[in-house]
Every structure is written in C-alpha cells, then in structure tokens.
C-alpha cells in the first residue's frame, strides 16, 4: 500500500488502509480541532494506491533487460492484447493498462516514441487507431524495440493480409499465438517474418 499524506508518502501493509480510513473518518466525524491544512492532507491521503507485493514495475532492474509487457490498445483504451512477462495482480494489470493508455494516447506524433513509465520505459508506436506499447528497462535500446514493434505489425499484416482492428478482436487468440512465436519470456525469439508465418501455417494445419 502506498499512502500519501501531504508531501510524504509511505508504502506499507494492508492494515494501513483501514488505519487511514479510521484516521480520516475520526477527524471528519468528530470535528477535531485540526487545522484545515491537516484536513486537506487527510483528504488527499484517501488517494491510496495499490501496489502489489511484487511491484516489479516500480524498481529499476539491473540485469536481464527484458520486455516486461506488451500492450495493444485502441484509442479508446480498449485492450486488444496484453501479454505480461512479469507476474502482476489483475488489478495492477488494469491499472498499468489504464496508465499506459493515458500516457500514449495524447502525445503529439512529432514527439518521441518513448515515455517514462514508473521506473521503466514504454516504447510505443501508433498504427491507425491502434497503439502498440512495449515496456522495457530504462537503459534498454529504445530504437531496437521500435523496430521490433514494426516487425510484429508486419507479421500481423502478412498473416491477416491487410490487418485491421476487427481482425485482431475476432482472432485475438491467433494474435497471442503469433506473439508467442515472436517473443518468448520477454526476449526476441525469431526475427524472420517468413519463418514465423510458415510456423503459424504448420501449427494451423494441426488444428
């Protein structure tokens, strides 16, 4: 849990949530002689952020640069694909998706394709109404991932022949399967478009 009280913020256990609520409620209900600044602090303290115990996204990572997650979202923020290579709680995933969308959706096309996100970096690229976002280490090679997104889009385009958002919605499981042939365990697995398309063809035949 992160509690923000005025300018101070703390990370602490779940009990703290109840604590903050109690504190807040007692101050308001009992009309304590707090000055209004303190009350304001308490109001703002109710903005309590959930941070899962394994908040991988919140810590800088030194070894093993890898992709943390891949998101595919449309302009409205609907998730069309979300692949996490680090374990996160579902609630945290939704928060991440929401935050990433907020970060990328309103950026000027002239701006960089990189946004800092918590202690990591999101490399995103927009194709029509779709945003492809990769979360990587802050020190990783951004340009390479930019190229990586493009390659993935080319593969999708090739596979669905002229891909559009609806293809991705109705064949979302196929998109995941393609991704699994392209990236595994947060690392690039295959760099040849042809090889991936062929592999997908072989697998489809077994269905």
């Amino acid at each position: 849990m992160r509690i923000e009280l005025g300018h101070r913020s703390f990370v602490c256990h779940a009990h703290a949530l109840d604590f903050a609520r109690n504190l807040f409620a007692s101050c308001i209900v009992q009309r304590l002689e707090l000055n209004w600044k303190t009350k304001l602090c308490l109001f703002s303290s109710i903005e309590i952020h959930l941070i899962p115990s394994c908040s991988l996204l919140n810590f800088p990572l030194i070894i093993g640069r890898m992709i943390r997650f891949i998101l595919l979202q449309n302009r409205q923020g609907k998730t069309r694909l979300a692949k996490y290579y680090v374990p996160l709680e579902d609630s945290e995933k939704h928060k991440v998706e929401y935050e990433v969308h907020r970060l990328v959706v309103n950026r000027d096309p002239k701006f960089t394709n990189f946004v800092e996100f918590r202690t990591h970096k999101v490399i995103y690229r927009r194709y029509a109404g779709l945003f492809f976002s990769l979360c990587v280490d802050i020190t990783d090679n951004e340009l390479a991932y930019l190229e990586c997104i493009h390659l993935f889009v080319e593969i999708l385009d090739h596979f669905f022949s002229n891909v559009c958002e609806l293809d991705l919605v109705f064949n979302f499981h196929k998109v995941y399967l393609i991704l699994d042939e392209f990236i595994l365990a947060g690392e690039l697995q295959e760099t040849s478009k042809k090889a991936i398309i062929e592999r997908m063809g072989e697998l489809e035949k077994l269905e």
């Binding site: 509690i3 009280l5 101070r8 913020s9 703390f10 990370v11 602490c12 009990h15 703290a16 604590f19 903050a20 109690n22 007692s26 304590l32 002689e33 303190t38 602090c41 115990s53 394994c54 991988l56 990572l61 030194i62 070894i63 093993g64 069309r80 694909l81 979300a82 680090v86 374990p87 996160l88 950026r107 000027d108 701006f111 960089t112 990189f114 946004v115 800092e116 202690t119 802050i138 090679n141 951004e142 340009l143 390479a144 930019l146 190229e147 499981h173 995941y176 595994l184 365990a185 690392e187 690039l188 697995q189 295959e190 760099t191 040849s192 478009k193 042809k194 072989e202 697998l203 077994l206």
Partner: protein, 877 residues
C-alpha cells in the same frame, strides 16, 4: 445438454459484446456468458471446454475476473489432442501467473509434454514454461530444457534457449549446467537459434562469473567473426530491414561483446576493429541503422579504454543530437549522460544544444535534457546556465515547473559562488515558481539570508519589490514576510544600499501593507498567516507609530477558526497592549541561524524526503555506476514467488504509522501535549488509554479519538519487535516519551530492598497547586494485590470543587477505585481528600506498577485538568 453453453460461439459472444452500447449492457452479457461457462464447467462438459477457455480469455482481456476457469486450463493441457493443448497452454499463460498455487499441478504435465514425441507439443510446453516458470518449476524442469537445447529442430532449440534464460534468472545456481550447450548455440547458422543463443550467453555471463570467463576465452573470436559476417552479409530478403541484414542480431551480438569486453582489456582489443567498422559503415538514415549505432556506442563506452573509438562514439552522439528525429535526439541525450563520466569535455561542447532540448515541447526529451544539464553544471558555467534555466522557467509548462524548479534550486544551492548571487537567483525562482518550491528550500534561503548580515537591507528591499509583482507565490510571500518582520527597519530607512540597487522609498505603512495583504489573502495558508502574525508583532516594535494599526490587524484574527491563529493573535495583542516594557526585548531580531546545524538537520531528516530525493539520483546514473550485486536483482525480478517478503516492511509500516500520527499532532501545537500518548506508539500506553474512563471535557475529545489509532497499533504488536523498536528510536518525537515510560519499569526510587509488607509512602504527583501522596499496604498471603490510599492536598489559595481523580494502568494490572471521601478540597492545605485504590498485579515480581492519572476539578469556576504519570512506585508491589 446445457441450454446456454450450446448457444453462443466465441465469435457470437464477441459480436454480442461489441454490440453493447453501455458498460452496463456489456456487464450483463459478460455475466450471462460467465454463468453459462460456469455451469458448463460444473457439468464437466468436454466438448465445450476448449471454447469456454477461449471465451474466458476474451472476458479476461476485458477486465473481468476469470479465476474459475483456471482448472479447466489444466484439464485441457492434460488432454492428448494438440488443439486442446494449444488453447489450454494459451489460457494458462493468460489466466494464471507463476504465483498461483494451481501452477504446482501443471509441472507434471509440462514434464510429460517436454518429453513428447511431437515437436509441436514440445514447443507449446516450452513456450508456457518460458512465460510462467517459477523457481520450483525451474529446478524441476531444467534437465529437460538442457536436453532440448540440443534438439534437432531449430524451433525447439531457440525456445529452449529462451526458457533457459528464464530458468537462470529464477535460479542462478543452475547457470553452470547451461554454459556448454549455450556456447554451442553460438556456432549456429540459423538466425533464430543464434539470436536466442547470444541472448542466453549474455544472461549467463551476468549471473555467473564462470560463464563469463568461459565465454571470454572460448567465444570472443567466434562472436567477432559472426558479427563481421552479419555486417558484411549481402542482401538477405528474409532478414532484411531497411537495407540491413537482421539489425536485431547485430544488436544482440554487440550487447554480448559489451558484457565480455567490460573489464577485460585483451577481449576489448579483439573487438576494436569490428566495432570501428560498425561505427563507421552503418547506414544512418533509417531507424534500424541508428539502433545498431546506438548499441555500438554503448559497447564502445563500456569496454576497456580505446581513445580512438571513444572519439568516434562521441561524434556519433553529436550527430544524433543534431538529428531532426526526436527519437534519435532522445537517445543521444540518454547516451551523453553515460558519456559524461568518460569524457566530460566532449559532452560540454554540446551544452548549448542540450540546453535547447530542455525547452523542447516533448516531455520525454525535456526530462532527459534537464537531467543532463544538471550533470553538466560546474563552477565555471553555473551562472549562464542558471540564467537560461530561470528564463525558461517563465515559459515552461505547469507540469514541468516542479521538476525544473527542484533542479534549479539544487544547482543554485550546490554551486553558488557568492551569497548575493544565491539570494538573487532564489528570489527569481521564488517569484516565478514559488508555489513549486519545497519547504526545505525556502527554509535554507532564510538561513542564508540571516547569515548574510551585510545583505539584509538589500534582500528585504528586493523581496519587497518582488512581492509587488508576484504576491501569488506562496513561498515568496513567506520569505518576504519573514524578512520584513526581521529587517523592516532596514527597509524603511534604506540601510546598506548597494550600488547595483535602484533607490526605493518605502514608508512604514507600506511595509505593514505587505504583511496585511499576506495575512488577509484568501490563498494564504496557516503557515503564511502565522508567519505574518509574528512579523506584525515584530513590526509593532520596530515601527512604534504604526503600532495601533498593527494591533488592529492582529485583533482581526482573534475570531479565527484556527486555534493556532486565534491563540497567537490574543497573546500578541496583549503583548502590544500590556507589556510595553518587555516588548522590544521580546521581538529582537532573530539570532543568526546556524548554517551547519540546519544542513545537518536536513541531512538527517525523515526517510520520506530522503527517498524522494533518491528517486532522480537513482535514475541518473543510468548505468554510469556499476550495478550492485546480482542477488538483489533477483529479488526484484522474476523470482517473486520464492522471494521472502522484505523484512523491513514491518518497520516501514510502523514508521508510517508513527509518521501519520505525528502529522496531526505536530500540526496542532496548542493541544499536542494531550496527544502524546498515540505518538509514543508503545502498547503499554495504548493499554492505558484503552481503559480510560470516557472523558467529558472538550480537550479530552482528542484523547478519545486517539483511541482510534489504537486498533492498527494493536495489530502492530504482531510485527517483529526489534525492528519496531529501532524504528521508534529513529523517530525522535516518539523516542523521548517512550524512554520516559520505560523508566516506569525500572526501579528508580531509592527504596531499600526490604521485601516486608511495609512500603514507604511516595509523592505520586506534585504541582504548584496539588499534591498526591500514596500510602501502600499489602495483605499477607496475597502479594499480587496492593491497596493504595491516595491523599490529595490542595496547595493553592482557592477551594477546589467537583474534584475527580481518575487513574489508568496497563493491561497486566487491574485497578479498582473506591469512592473518594469528598469531592471538595479545601484551600491552602487545610484538609484533604482520601481515596482508596486496589491494584492487582498479574505479573507480580516481574513488572513494577505503573500508572497514569488525571485529575479534574473546578477552581474559581474554571475547569482545570492535570495529568501525571506515576513511575516511582516502590519495588516489589
């Protein structure tokens, strides 16, 4: 057959969901589908399991809970058919992660599938393992993966290599098993296998010194040759990106060379030629080429010194910096930050361009550039750089002002060549972005001003001028009000005018105007208002002729709803009205604040501020500093399933609570005395509080509300006490009362060790108005019970009425209070009240008595409340 599950196909469900116009409709559709899937699961319906999971994956992606489908995934995985396995594994990766216990059940299926004769099924299992492997699975399945690294099918080999990466990240001990097979992969021709092999070697070298040594000796030559081949390879359509053959492979190879060359001059030598070739020959008009160059520069910067290559690298960055593509500029700024440790001069050459980047419209570039500028500042360029940044401060976006202000203030504080410059620049910052300035920054400014005695006049005049234009900047107002209060006379009399100043005439009433505006302005907060009140008091003495007006302003706050202001205004009013003789002495100028103490105090300030200041500095090095040891990383990275919860969290929690406690307490100094109990945070005191009789007077309301604090504290008791104790000790406010309290357990009264039934009387409480004596007696055969006769004596000349004595003890004690002999206490010690108490000590012989008490009475029709703690009980009670 189930009427629902037969109904919709996956496609139909998606269509139905897409047709929903509102979120409520969507929820209804999803609810219906989930109900159908659940009942289908309950009926153990084989035919639709496959489809159900596919639907659940879609529902999961929309953000609805789907945990009930987890077991179904496992059933699908266990089935023999490829299509079912495929969807099962896909569901497994999406609906579960490595932390679910259900995953334990899947290890066996994975093992079987890894050994399956069908290579496609092996591929599925490897894929799942790579994405959700936990440490336990890693240990169980490492031999299979190791074997698959030598499998004939390249698709399997590359998947196995990536699984191996995941395994060694989870369990670094397993690294040595993979060294030989991984090195073998480096000789592959198949790009997919080669790239995963290179990646595996890179990660192996990071977790294992043995692997690093092995690769340096055996693989460097081969890798350099491979890179040369790839760089010189003719057009290969399969891997071509923007005219370059497989840039990803380039980058991975450079990265591995980086790891091998770092810290080894011989290995670095081997790769010089190829690095020079890549750095000079790579096509730079496409992103792919720049990505390679970027990686190449990074490798050059980190391998052992080679002057020529470094010059080449810095030149590449210079070119990047002047590129029109924002992405490339961003990358250049990032790299220059690393280069700064290598060659500061070279980076300084690009200073002008970098400062321009601070003003970019793109927040990502601005942020990087600002951090770089911060690193570039030194004594010689601080003045022009600060000037430029402050000028930009006017025009910058609101959301960037916070960062920018913090950096500027930090630069000014760190490099200011003289005090007058420091003051000037800080005033500029305050007038531009005073609302973004942190408290400690303006506190520091006041300390500096107070130390610069020859600049007092100059500063107060400058602040007066700044106030006229920027009265909306809270911190500027505070500093101005403080200085006018202290040095108002210098302002009016134009003392110590410097040559650079414009002459200015300020009358006494102008100066008072400033403070009046500050105190009356609706946006002023409590601190500003309180500071203004004090400034007014000071001015009333400095400007005798304006005294009456000042008094008027002060009186206006008599009715303030804020206790602090109300009290101060009444006090100050009476100082002005009644105490002319002491006033001037009372409001003398503050003694010079000690800079060293201030800085020291700031350095030792709360961890919260330390951690916030750590934030940017942690980001800053960006690889400049050597990374700390690997095990730490392991904690943070993939191994969350087997990582123990950080033991410090308990302490943090406690400290947080204390911190939270503190803030309300310290914000209400008028009543903080009564609030001490929750501050100490020791359970003994909490116990005391919990058995207190319900308080009646308004002040005690606070006490009762502080019982609210009790419940979380109580849950705290389960936390490890050593860490808790150390945290308490670290919180200065909490420490003192606690020590006090502990004294209660230590026999500190000079009573003889005589364990007889007779105990000496003690004075349990004594103030100027009241004395309480305790006489003790113990019945024989019942050592736990002590009878106490309390005698109350009135030492004041007034009669006390409605006299009530209350006492409270910790939980290990039981207390019975008999009625008092009277509730009226005659004046001047003529007579007394007695009251009998009985205390049962359940820990007799181990713990001494301790008691808190509260005495309420009326004297001259005024409610009086006194409190005390008895800790000098004789030993052995």
């Amino acid at each position: 057959m189930n009427p629902f599950s037969s109904g919709t196909r996956l496609r139909d469900m998606i269509r139905a969901i897409r047709a929903c116009k509102t979120a409520a409709e969507e929820r209804a559709v999803v609810r219906k589908e989930c109900a159908a899937i659940r009942s289908s699961i309950n009926e153990n319906d084989h035919d639709y399991r496959h489809r159900n999971i596919a639907k659940l994956m879609f529902i999961h992606m929309l953000g609805y809970p789907t945990h009930f489908g987890q077991m179904e995934c496992l059933k699908l995985i266990a089935s023999a058919e490829f299509p079912e396995k495929r969807i099962g594994y896909l569901g497994l990766m999406l609906l579960l992660d490595e932390r679910q216990e259900v995953l334990m059940l899947v290890t066996n299926s994975l093992k079987q599938d890894l050994n399956h004769a069908n290579q496609y099924i092996v591929g599925l299992a490897l894929c799942a393992l790579g994405n959700i492997c936990s440490a336990e699975m890693a240990r169980d399945l490492a031999p299979e993966v190791e074997r698959l690294l030598q499998f004939r099918d390249p698709n399997t080999r590359k998947k196995a290599a990536l699984c191996a990466i995941r395994i060694i990240k989870k369990v670094p001990d397993l690294a040595e098993n993979f060294i030989n097979p991984a090195a073998a992969l480096l000789k592959e021709k198949h790009h997919g296998v080669l790239i995963t092999g290179v990646q595996l070697c890179t990660d192996l070298c990071k977790v294992s010194a043995e692997a690093l040594e092995y690769c340096r000796k055996k693989c460097t030559g081969g890798l350099v040759r491979t890179l040369k081949d790839v760089a010189n390879s003719p057009y290969a359509p399969e891997y071509d990106i923007a005219g370059i053959t497989d840039p990803f492979l380039h980058i991975r190879l450079l990265r591995l060379l980086h790891v091998l060359g770092q810290g080894d001059a011989d290995v670095s030598d081997l790769m010089n030629d190829i690095l020079a070739q890549v750095a000079t020959k790579t096509e730079t008009n496409k992103n792919a080429g720049n990505a390679i160059l970027y990686e190449c520069v990074e490798t050059i910067m980190s391998i052992e010194d080679n002057g020529g290559l470094r010059v080449l690298a810095i030149n590449i960055l210079g070119r990047f910096l002047s590129n029109r593509d924002n992405n490339i500029r961003y990358v250049a700024l990032n790299m220059l930050m690393k280069a700064i440790t290598v060659d500061t001069q070279a980076v300084q050459r690009h200073r002008a361009t970098i400062v321009e980047c601070v003003k970019d419209s793109d927040a990502s570039i601005r942020k990087r550039a600002l951090e770089l500028v911060y690193l570039l500042v030194n004594e010689s360029n601080v003045k022009p750089l600060t000037k430029e940044l402050i000028e930009y401060l006017e025009r910058s976006d609101q959301e960037f002002k916070g960062d920018l202000t913090a950096k500027i203030c930090s630069i000014i504080a760190k490099f200011s060549p003289e005090k007058i410059w420091y003051i000037d620049q800080m005033l500029k910052v305050l007038s531009e972005a005073g609302n973004f300035v942190k408290d400690e920054v303006w506190h520091a400014l006041i300390v500096v001003i107070s130390n610069a005695s020859d600049l007092h006049g100059y500063t107060v005049r400058a602040l007066y001028r700044a106030f006229q234009t920027s009265a909306e900047q809270e911190t500027l107002v505070r500093v101005a009000v403080w200085c006018i209060g202290e040095y108002g006379d210098l302002l009016v009399k134009n003392v110590g005018v410097l040559d650079i100043e414009d002459p200015i005439t300020v009358t006494e009433s102008d100066a008072v105007d400033v403070v009046e505006v500050a105190i009356k302005h609706h946006t002023s907060d409590l601190t500003t208002k309180a500071m203004s009140l004090i400034a007014l008091l000071k001015l009333s003495s400095r400007f005798p002729s304006s005294s009456e007006r000042i008094q008027d302003i002060i009186i206006q706050n008599r009715g303030s709803l804020v206790l602090e202001l109300q009290q101060r205004s009444i006090e100050f009013n009476s100082v002005i009205e009644k105490h002319h003789n002491i006033r001037s002495a009372l409001v003398e100028r503050m003694p010079v604040l000690d800079e060293a103490t201030f800085i020291g105090r700031r350095a030792g300030s709360t961890p919260a501020t330390v951690s916030t200041s750590n934030g940017p500095s942690l980001n800053l090095p960006n690889g400049v500093t050597k990374p700390p040891a690997a095990p730490l990383v392991d904690l943070l990275d993939l191994s969350s399933d087997d990582a123990p919860a950080p033991s410090s969290s308990g302490a943090d929690f406690l400290q947080d609570l204390l911190g939270v406690d503190l803030s309300p307490a310290s914000k209400q100094p008028g009543i903080s005395g009564t609030n001490q109990a929750p501050r100490t945070g020791t359970d003994v005191l909490l116990d005391l509080l919990s058995i207190e009789t319900p308080p009646a007077s308004p002040i005690t309301d606070i006490l009762s509300s502080s019982q609210v604090y009790k419940s979380p504290h109580a849950s705290l008791e389960g936390l490890s006490s050593p860490s808790a104790l150390s945290t308490r000790a670290a919180t200065p406010a909490g420490a003192a009362p606690m020590m006090d309290l502990l004294d209660g357990f230590v026999p500190n009264s000079p009573i003889s060790e005589d364990n007889g039934p007779v105990y000496p009387s003690i004075v349990a409480f004594e103030s100027s108005s009241l004395r309480i004596m305790f006489n003790f007696s113990k019945a024989r055969g019942n050592p736990q019970t002590t009878s106490i006769q309390a005698t109350f004596t009135n030492l004041s000349p007034n009669v006390y009425t409605d006299f009530i004595f209350q006492a409270a003890v910790p939980k290990f004690l039981q207390l019975h209070l008999d009625p008092a002999s009277s509730n009226t206490l005659p004046a001047g010690g003529n007579g007394s009240i007695t009251q009998n108490l009985r205390v049962i000590n359940s820990q007799h012989g181990k713990k001494s008595l301790v008691m808190r008490m509260r005495i309420a009475y009326k004297s001259n029709d005024e409610d009086i409340l006194e409190e005390g703690q008895v800790s000098n009980f004789p030993r052995g009670l």
